[in-house]
Amino acid sequence: MQRVAVVRFPGSNCDFDTLRAATRAGAEAVFVWHRDTDLKGADIVILPGGFSYGDYLRAGAIARFSPVMPAVQRHAAEGGAVFGICNGFQILCEAGLLPGALVRNAGLHFVAKPVDLRIDRTDTVFTSEFRLGERIRLPVSHGEGRYVADEPTLAMLEGEGRVVLRYLPPGAGVEPNPNGSVRDIAGICNPSGTVVGIMPHPDRAWADALGSTDGLRFFTSMAAWQPAASGRSP
């Protein structure tokens, strides 16, 4: 059974949702406090959504220097899996574990609603149970979700197939890109697909009572992951 550490920062507010989603998917999930310096033997680390440190300065800018982060960096460098959801994605970018940055939504408003997305990469730890090109619906809830990166970085991400999740362009019956993200990018990964960051909230879409179950497969993908097959060093 996969052991999952959900890191709690002061201001995390999706920590319990994420813990329950991971548990529902069949993983053994535990909390790790941001002041902890070890990950309790976790195979997978999830940085949940919320407003760590009040989003002061920039979203994720202060959380990335939390005492727990060197352990997260080491874990990622050794091939361990890391999933950043919303604020977690912002922290991964600030920490340099993923390229680019997430800045104020183009429309300035905080957006909280379901959006339509396309799965653009399935050989990652967190998307293996989707079909390539599959359309899904997940809620977003963010004020700083507009993904930006310079042109060489975008060309690299596209060239290496590292865009995992994309907002759909406007169309009939579509809830499109809600924040002006460049190239409709909603989620990206590292070259090996072990570190993934996405803005939408699969942790808020894993039971019928929540309006969608599309999010559950991010967690069942993770629970089915075989670290050895992904090249993780022993």
């Binding site: 202060i62 600030e94 940055a101 104020r104 939504n105 300035l108 002006g180």
Partner: protein, 83 residues
């Protein structure tokens, strides 16, 4: 010796600045039709203990590179007050 340091962090030129656009629009609505190219950034003031003014500036730039500015999206300038 303590130096007062003024850090100015601005969204990188060319990057969409929706706050700047909103402020520009509001100014136009108020009748300030002569305004244009409004951009909104962040100002940070701090005291830095250092032996020299140059050292204070160097340390402040290190702070910008590590924390105060995001090198992907922002540019910064540092001004040191005092002798």
């Amino acid at each position: 010796m303590s130096y007062r340091v003024y850090v100015r962090v601005m969204p990188r030129a060319g990057l969409l600045d929706p706050q700047g656009q909103a402020v520009e629009h509001a100014l136009a609505t108020l009748g300030f039709a002569e305004t244009g190219a409004v951009r909104v950034g962040r100002a940070i003031e701090l005291d830095v203990r250092a032996a020299t003014r140059a050292e204070a500036e160097t340390r402040a730039r290190e702070m910008c590179d590590r924390l105060l500015a995001n090198p992907v999206t922002e540019d910064y300038s540092v001004e040191v007050e005092g002798a």
